[in-house]
Structure formats: C-alpha cells, structure tokens
Amino acid sequence: MSESPVPVPLPTSLAPVESVLRTLAPKLRGLERQLRDWLQARHCFPISATQRSSLETLADDLKRQADALDVDRPLLVIMLMGGTGVGKSTLLNALAGAPIGQASFTRPTTRDPVVYFHHSVRPDRFDPALRHCRLVAHDRDTLANKIIVDTPDLDSNDLANRDKLLVLLPVADVVLYVGSQEKYHDQIGWELFKQQRKRRAFAFVLNKWDRCLHPGASGLRPDEDLLRDLKQEGFERPRLFRTVAQSWVNHALQHGANSTSVPADLPEGEQFLELRHWLELGLTRLEVEAVKAKGVGQLLTQLQQALERLRPPDLTQEAQCTRAAWDRVLDEEARLASDVLLSSLDPYQTEIEHHFNLENQTRFRGLMAGYLKLMTKARFVTSNLRPQKVLLPELGNSRDAAKIPTWDLSAFTRQSIRAAGEKVLDQRCSALVNRLLVEADQQRFPLPLLAEPTQEASRLDWYERFDRDLIAALTEAERIVTSPTGGRKLLQAGVIGAANLIPELAFISGLGVLLYRFFMIEGYKAEPIDIALPFLITLVVLMLMHILITLLLPMRWRTIRQHFRRELETQLRNDLQGVYAILPEQVAQMLHDERQQLNRIIDEVAQLAAWLEERRQAADIMELYARD
C-alpha cells in the first residue's frame, strides 16, 4: 500500500483540475445535505452514538471542503502537529524569520494556535475553526495561497490543548508531523497520525537533528527509525526533513530575517532549506489543487466506508422463517386462549342458552311465539341476560346487528373475559411476547429490531379484541347451527312452518268443533270440559311442538360448544396473526427500504469519487502526449 504524502506527478495543464475543483463544490454540498437528511430521519436499524458522531463529522468535512473549494484559488492549509517541546513554534519562527510564535523553556508553550498567512488573503475566507486563532499576516508571495498553522501540543498534562488540536486538525490539507529526538514516535502522536493518515497528506520533520547524531551509539539513528516506522504504516517514500530550527531562529535574530546566509554551526544533513524550498516552491498551485482533489477523494472513500458499515442487513429470509415459527406459536396460543375463554364462558351457559332461546323465538309467530316467550321467561328467571339499552357498536355488520336485537350479550362476555384476563390472559400476553422474541432469535432475526414493535403490539387493548372475537364467534356458531344446509334445512323449515301453523289450526278446529256442536247439534249442552277442550288441545299441541322444536332445533350449550370453540380459535388466531405475525416482515421491509435509501447515497458518493478519479486520470494522460 503505497501512499505518498504529496501528490504524485501533476498534470501540466491546470484547467481540468481547477474546473473539477470548482464544480465539485455544489456536488459536495448536495451530498452533505442528503447525508444530514438521512441522519435526521428516523431509522429502524440502530446507529450507535459513535457512528452517528463520525458521520456528522464527515458531513462537517463535506461542508468544509465545499466551502474551501468554492473559490478561484483554493487555500492550502499546512498544519504543524507534534508533542510539546519538539519545536513546532520554533520551526514556524524559523520559517517566518521572526519570533511570531511563543517559544520558551516552559512546557507546554503554545496555547493559542497561530495562523500564518499572506496579507492578500482575507481572514473571513478562513475556515471558522481558524478564525479564533492568533492571526499573523506576511507578505511573502511564495507562500501566497498557503496557510501555515502552529497548533498546541498533543501530549502535555494540559488536556485542553489536545482538544484544541483536534478541533483544528480537520481543517488541515497537509499535516507537518514534527518530532524531536525524544518524541519522534511517541504513542499519542503516533496514534493520532495513524488515525489521520488516510484522511490527509502528511510530511515529516525531525527537529533538533543535532541531538540525533550521537557518535558511536548503537541502535538506529532516529531518522532511520522513523523511516522504518513510516514504512510499516504504508509510507514508502515519505517526505522527511531533518532540521535544527533553533539555529535558524538564532541566525535570523542576528542577521535579519531576509539574510540569505546559512548558520555556521549546522550539523551534517540539516534540511531546513529544503523544507522552506518545498513549502515555497515545491507546493505549486498545481500541487495545491491536486492535494485538495486527493483530500476530497479520501473524504469520499471514508464516507463510503462509513456508510457501508451502516447498511442494514437483508432480513427477508429470516423474516420468512420467523413468520413460520411465529405462526406455530400463535396457533398454540390461540388454542390455549380459546380454551381459557371457553371455560370462562361455561358458567354463563344459562345466559347463552337464554340468548339462543330468545333468538329462536323470533322465528316463530302467533301462538307458538307467545308460548315460547312464556316458557323462556319461566325457565330463565335466574339468567342475567337483560334487555340492552344501546345497540352493540361492535357488531358493525348490519345483518348481525339485526339478529341480536335487544339483548346485551357483551355484558357477560366482558365479565367473563375480565375474569379470565385477570387470572390468566394478562400473564399469557407478556409471556407470549417473550416466547415470540426467543423464537425470532432462534431464526437469527436480530432481536433489538423486533423487540420494540412486539412489545407495542402486546400493549394493544386485548380485552376489547377478545371481546369482539368472542361475540363474533358466538354469532358465527349460532349462524352455523341455525342455518344448516341440505336435509336439515328442509326439516327445520318444516318444523318452523308446522309450529307456526299447527297450534292455530288446532285451536281453530277445536273451536270449530265446539261451535259446530253448539249450533248444529240440537240439545247439545256444553259441559265446561267441552268449552276448555279447544284450549287444552292447543296447549297439548304447543307442548308437543315445543318438544319437537327442542329435539330438532337444538339450542343447547352442549350442542354449540364445539362449533363455538372452533370458531373462537379461528377468530383468535386471525387476530393474533394479524397483529404479531406481520411484524418480522414489516421490519424486514423497513430495513429493505432503508437499505435502498442508503444505497442511493452510497451510489452517489461512489459516482462522485469515480468522476473525480476519472478527471484526475484524464489530467494524468496529458503527460503521455508530447507537447506541440
């Protein structure tokens, strides 16, 4: 992995790169906006706090880059970074040829960062992070589009300094990593370098070079050691300058800032002049552009990687498995719950039978109806079923509503559900949630995604749902019993027809016989028994018919219990599945949508990166051609 801190050979023509940089700005802004929108939106797939903050940092960087590029001549920010006492400020002073940064023996020295810039640059063009630093303007045209920033240390006991550095660092295009003989690979600085090396360009300074040259020592010389470390980190040919900045500062003090002479006591291999030359002339406008472009490229790569780590998994398969597993659990649950509800309904069989009897009555007319009404009333004195004040709102179906006209069925179903609920169903409800979650985990469905919606579903008003299911099941069971098909239907119709007809016929014919005797037969003296006879006959017929009805139109609890149980189980299962079983697929679908969204952003980032790379290569290609 080779990564050079300074851009590779540069295109000779400036135009493509520059136009690229300028046109990049709005694209970056668009990307930033998209990223922020995405961050603000609600997500089903969890984003950890660190991921979120790193994405926010990336969004900030996008904005920063966009602002920095949206000018004619982008500014290159070169930042000095290193431990306290390695000589960052001294180095800046040596470059400036004047004591612009504080340098002293007390550690840490620099607390306020210093920004060294050309007077032609208006400070309001600086990144906001730089505006609060100490600003020092200069008039060296060779450094015209570069800003050199001296930062506080990163390793002293004054931890606030480290924070200041971390705020400044994102602004840097090139980091000048400054080390001394003691600190050239200190842990804190090295960690920071490793963390940043993928993000920006690095050049290295080994200051206090005079101290690195112990005669007759074993072990590596610090510069060799540093080069070896850098190689490990992927810098094959890093740009390393060995300097003795203090000598240059002293020299400048004695001979003036613009002296072209060289200090006398410089050790062998001192490279301060090369550093200055590189900063002034090596970093041409072309290189600046290329560094900027590379910086954007690195930022996009980072962004892409960060987003790819956040891509929610595809859970379609797991969702299907989970649904299948949940269906089994819910079937079982429906079975048990219907058992419980049924057994809680058992004590109310009097009411239920009463209800059915009332229902039954409505199919009869005339004498039979009156008789049945009387009998029902006599039989169900103890029943709690009372005329209903308001019509049941639950029974939306008008046909059903018409069927149960005035009797309150829900009063006792509610009562029985409450009894069952307090005893059993409440606990079963929370147990069911846990059971489902465990099942989902066994199907490898990520639990945190499912826990919330499942808990929410369990907090629905299950009493009301059970109530509705119970009534619906009762109605349905009744419908099945009362409207049979085939032969039974005929039989029923026959019985009802007969029951509606025969008592009246019997009465009329009894009365007819009586009248006939009274008027037609001479000397007929009506005994009281004769007068009572039509009524008695009618009564006997009614009783017979009643027995027939009870036998042929069974309206007893025992008869409908099985129908009812089956109906109830179906109702409950539908209800439970309607609420729970859809959840895994819903979640998977949501994740899928989020995935799509994120993919769109990632695609955009990749497109932008590819576009940038293409332009860079196109520019490189120019070199392949001979100049006319």
Partner: protein, 621 residues
C-alpha cells in the same frame, strides 16, 4: 477464611491479581486499571513476599524510569559511576529491564525463589542487547572502586576516585544498591513492554524519575509518576537537558505544575519528592560521570544515600508504605469488576422478578380456583358426625323432614351461584409459568447481550446447556414437590374431623349441644305459635335456622382449614420449587468454571488477603 501461611497467601494473592490484570486487558473500559493491577501484583511478589520470607534488606533497589530519550541511561551511569549503560539516540531502544550490580552486591543478590523473582520475567543467562523485546531481565556486573577487579573499562573512574575527594566520600554505591535501567513508557511500541517496567518498579526501594525539558509536563509520564507515588515508593525526580540558565526556573515550574498536583499518600500527607536538575551536557561531559559531570552526580548520589540509609529502615519503609497503599487502593483496583458485578446483579434482579411472577401465577391461576374437593367431603362428614347415632336417628330423621323446604330453597340458591370459572390443572400452570419465566429471562438476556459480556454469556448459555439443564432441574424439583404435597393434601382434610372422631367426649358434647339447640328452637317455635296451624310453618323455620347456624360454623371451620392448606401449599411451592430454581439461575453465571466464577472468587479473596498480609507484616515490622 482461615489464615493461610504466608507463602500460600502471597502466591494466591499474586495469582488473583494476575488474573484480574489479564481480565482487565480484555475490557476496553477497564484498560486503565491494567497498570495499577500489575504494579500491585509486583509489589506483593517482589517486596511483601520476600520480606515475609525474611530476606535481608541489602541490596536495596534503585529503579530509573522515564520517557523515551529523557536521559535514563545517563542517570544510570551517574548512579553506577561508570559508563555502563549506553546512551542511545533511538527513542525507546531499551526494551527490557537491566540490573547493574557491583562486585560485592552481585554475590549477595540472593532472591527469594518462592514467588518467582520478577514474576513472568525470565533472567537472561547470556548478555544480550538492551533492545531484546521479550519478557526478560538481565544482570550486568559493574566493577566498582571497592571491588578488586578494576581492570575492566572504563579506567577513568578509578583514577578520578583517587584524585577527587567527593567520590571518595561515596565509596561504591553499588555495594549497597542494585541499579535498574528500565524501558520507556512513551513510544508507540511501549504498550507492549510497560508491564516489564511496572514489574521492576514494584521491586524498587527508591525510584529515580527522569524527565527531560521536553517531557517534564507530559501526560503519560506524569500518570506513571502518580502511580508510583500512590504505590508508596520513594521517588527522586531528575530533570534533564535544559540550558544551564533555565535550571532553577524549570525546577520551579515543575514543582508548581506537577509536584503540587501529586496525589496524597494514604495517611493524607503530601508526598515529599526531592527534585534535581541536570542541564544539557556535552557528550564529553556525559562520558565522564565521575569527573566533569561529578557536580551533578554527587547531588544525585546524596539524595539516594539519604533515602537509602540505613538500609533496614529504608526497606521497612518500602514495605510498610506498600501495604498501606495497597489497602487504600484496594477498592479502586477492584473497580475493574464493577460493571460485571452490576450486570450480574441486574441478572439476579431479573431472576427474582421472574420468580415473583412465577409464584403469583401459581397462586392466581391454580391455587385460587383449586377447591381441594376433599374438603367438601370432609364438611359433609363433619355434619354427619354431628347427627345422633343409634336410636337418635329417628329424632334426626324427624328434623331432616322438617328441614325439607329449607333444603329445596338452598339448592335453588346454590344453583344460581356461578361455578368458579377457568380452572387449570396444577401441573399445566406450573409448566406454563416456568416456561414463561425462562422465556422472559432469555429474551432479556438476548436484548441486553450487546450491553455487557455477562448478558452475552447468558444468551449463549440459553442457546446451549442452560435451557435443558433448567428444564431438567425444574422437572426434578416439581416431582419432589408433588410427592411432598400429596401427603399434606390427604392429611389436611381428614384432620378436620379426625380430632372429633378420636375424642368421643367432645363429640358427644357437641351432638347433645346440637340436639339441645334444635329441640329448644322447635320448642320455642311451638310455644310462640301456640300449637296452632302456624306451627306447621314455624317448626320447619326454626329447624332450618338452627341447622343453617350449625352448617355455617362447620363451613367456617372447613374454609379456615382450606385457606390454611392453600397458604401452606403456596409456601411449600415457594420453598421447594421456586427458591431452589431461582437460586440456581442466580448463580448460573458464576458457576461451571466460567470467568465470572473466577472473578467472584478473586474479588472475595483479595481484600481479605490484603488484611491478612497487613497483620503478618505488622508482626514482622
């Protein structure tokens, strides 16, 4: 815990501390506790243990520590009075501790071998370069003025020793001291070897902390200085490399910035840390510690001598402070396990909550609707017993006849009562409740698996052996419970009437009492009705009234017993089923040879071991 002999005590304590150190390495949040734990182990192993063994105070150990390139080797040379340690420009060259021993001290360097001197560090038998990056230490012999072998290099010290009076005042520091050169703690590679540094620092009687003008206010070396002060070591600070003119202001700044912020000692006093400054010296001066650099060397040696004289007192001070500091730091050391313990506590709370729910379900779903049918039989039997035997049967029969209307009315009324709804059999309720309990724990563990390793361990356990084991255990306990309960259920209803059956006097008294009541009630009814037709109404009324009173009393007795049985059964279930299960689940994470078992053991043993050690040391001191 009964007192252990000190060898066992020391090795066990060292073991526990080592284990905790290794454990803390794995958790990112406790990484900053690794150093203190290692130092604690080193203190116990290298100072406290040997002292209890009766090791002689000589030689004392001077350990030189500091950041990379701060000038440790220079200071070692100063202490030894010869150019023995090569000063090296490569930062972080030295990778393992090196002991410099004098001719005499070398022979008396008898380590107490029971605890493994310097713990995991092996002694190098062959001389090796200082940058050997392994868990080793090496011993280099230095010919001193007082030893006979003066032929070794360099020759200069000998010549100077005879020439200059100050060096004669300090005849061979190495006679009484072993000087240790340590690796640094600041370079990026140092995280691999700071444990070696801490191991030797634990051994030290005197620590020389070297800081250059670049490093004196650096965060990481200062952390180590704090750590060493907190472990009760005597520390001398040497500041190096400043310009000569900056010596005094730099010392001032150092005192103000670093020394003033040092932590307090366990007795609340501020630590006394002597500070010296050695300016930047030319290579020529550095090469000649006893000559050109003598002025700085002597000041340093004086400080070392002051702290190390007499040797016994110095060693006793080292030991005494070490144990005090260990005890003071104990709770902080054990902080590594705080989060684990919190997680385990949270698990236990969850288990207990589940247990409460389990018991509540048993009560609500089963016990409250369980009638214990035998009690109804027992009530019938009890009332039967109160009827008159033998010839009295006729009288009883008459009363029975008189009460016929009452019976009719009563059966009609009881017929209107709803039977208890929702009856679930006991076994079914128990199994369902237990499954719910396990499911709840499991889903909790799964949901919190990301929070802490304990929950992850549990979640994994549920997938593996835990679920099956829990079910087996439950089945076994439930069988036992059922067996125990069968006896009480048969016994309790019988006890309702057994007392009466075995006590004929009481029975007869009650029978005659009831008879008297019935008779007097009927008599009163007849008297009030004045033997008119109304008597036909009054007599059954009176007979019914007395009977219902008796019935009511009998029911009360039976209900009371039934309630008793219920609560007894609840208690029994809790005792023989819920409690053992909950205990087993609570302890599951810390059993079966898991990490948490070891952790708990270490946490229990370390504080008491510290205290025992303090007692043992107090006896010696």
């Amino acid at each position: 815990m009964e007192p252990l002999d000190h060898r066992t005590l020391v090795s066990q304590l060292v073991d526990d501390l080592n284990w905790l150190e290794a454990y803390s390495r794995h958790a990112p949040e406790s990484a900053d506790k690794t150093g203190p734990l290692r130092l604690a182990a080193a203190l116990v192993r290298n100072v406290l243990g040997p002292f209890l063994e009766g090791q002689p105070p000589l030689p004392l150990h001077v350990v030189v520590v500091g950041g990379a390139g701060a000038g440790k080797s220079t200071i070692v040379n100063f202490l030894c009075g010869a150019n023995v340690a090569e000063a090296n420009p490569q930062a972080g060259f030295t990778r393992h501790p090196i002991a410099y021993v004098g001719g005499n001290a070398a022979t008396s360097l008898q380590w107490s071998a029971h605890f493994g001197f310097l713990g995991p560090l092996q002694k190098l038998t062959q001389p090796a370069a200082s940058n050997l990056d392994q868990d080793v230490y090496q011993v280099r012999r230095v010919p001193t003025a007082s030893s006979s072998s003066l032929t070794a290099t360099p020759a200069a010290p000998q010549a100077l020793a005879t020439l200059e009076p100050p060096t004669q005042l300090l005849p061979g520091l190495l006679d009484e001291f072993v000087v240790w050169d340590c690796p640094d703690m600041t370079t990026w590679a140092s995280s691999g070897y700071t444990s070696r540094l801490l191991e030797v620092a634990g051994l030290a009687d005197i620590i020389v902390y070297v800081a250059s003008d670049e490093r004196y206010n650096d965060a990481i070396p200062t952390q180590y200085l704090h750590l060493l002060i907190q472990s009760g070591k005597a520390v001398i600070v040497v500041l190096t490399k400043m310009r000569e003119s900056d010596m005094q202001p730099l010392l001032e700044h150092f005192r103000q910035e670093v020394i003033a912020r040092l932590p307090r000692l366990p007795d609340g006093s501020a630590p006394v840390v002597p500070c010296l400054a050695i300016p930047f010296l030319a290579p020529g001066d550095l090469a000649d510690p006893t000559g050109k650099a003598a002025k700085y060397r002597i000041a340093l040696l004086n400080q070392v001598m002051v702290l190390g004289d007499p040797p016994l007192a110095a060693r006793q001070r080292t030991v005494g402070l070490a144990i005090k500091c260990l005890i003071a730091a104990c709770s902080e050391l054990l902080e590594v396990a705080r989060q684990d313990l919190e997680a385990i506590d949270a698990w236990r709370a969850a288990v207990r909550a589940g247990r409460a729910e389990f018991e509540a379900r048993y009560r609500r779903e089963y016990l409250s609707s369980e009638r214990f049918g035998r009690f109804d039989l027992a009530r019938e039997h009890l009332l039967d017993l109160l009827e008159l035997p033998g010839a009295g049967r006729i009288v009883s029969g008459l009363f029975w006849l008189a009460r016929a209307p009452y019976r009719l009315v009563r059966s009609a009324i009881t017929g209107m009562n709803r039977p208890e709804s929702v009856y679930l059999p006991e076994q079914e309720v128990l199994v369902a409740a237990f499954r719910a309990w396990l499911d709840q724990l499991r889903s909790e563990a799964l949901q919190r698996a990301g929070q802490h390793a304990v929950w992850k361990h549990l979640a994994k356990g549920f997938e593996g052996p835990l679920t099956q084991e829990a079910h087996d255990r439950f089945a076994q306990l439930a069988r036992q419970f059922e067996r125990g309960q069968a006896e009480t259920l048969q016994g309790a209803p019988r006890s309702v009437y057994e007392g009466l059956e075995s006590n004929p006097t009481l029975l007869n008294t009650l029978r005659s009492g009831k008879l008297a009541l019935d008779a007097s009630a009927i008599g009163a009814a007849l008297w009030i009705a004045n033997f008119s037709w109304w008597s036909l109404l009054a007599v059954p009324l009176a007979a019914s009234f007395t009977h219902s009173v008796v019935e009511m009393i009998g029911s009360q007795v039976v209900e009371h017993k039934r309630e008793q049985v219920r609560s007894r059964q609840q208690k029994q279930m809790s005792q023989s089923l819920a409690t053992p299960l909950a205990d087993w689940l609570c302890h599951w994470p810390v059993t079966g040879g898991s990490t948490y078992e070891r952790l708990q053991l270490a946490l229990q043993r370390i504080p008491s071991a510290f205290r025992q050690m303090e007692d043992a040391l107090r006896r010696r001191l």
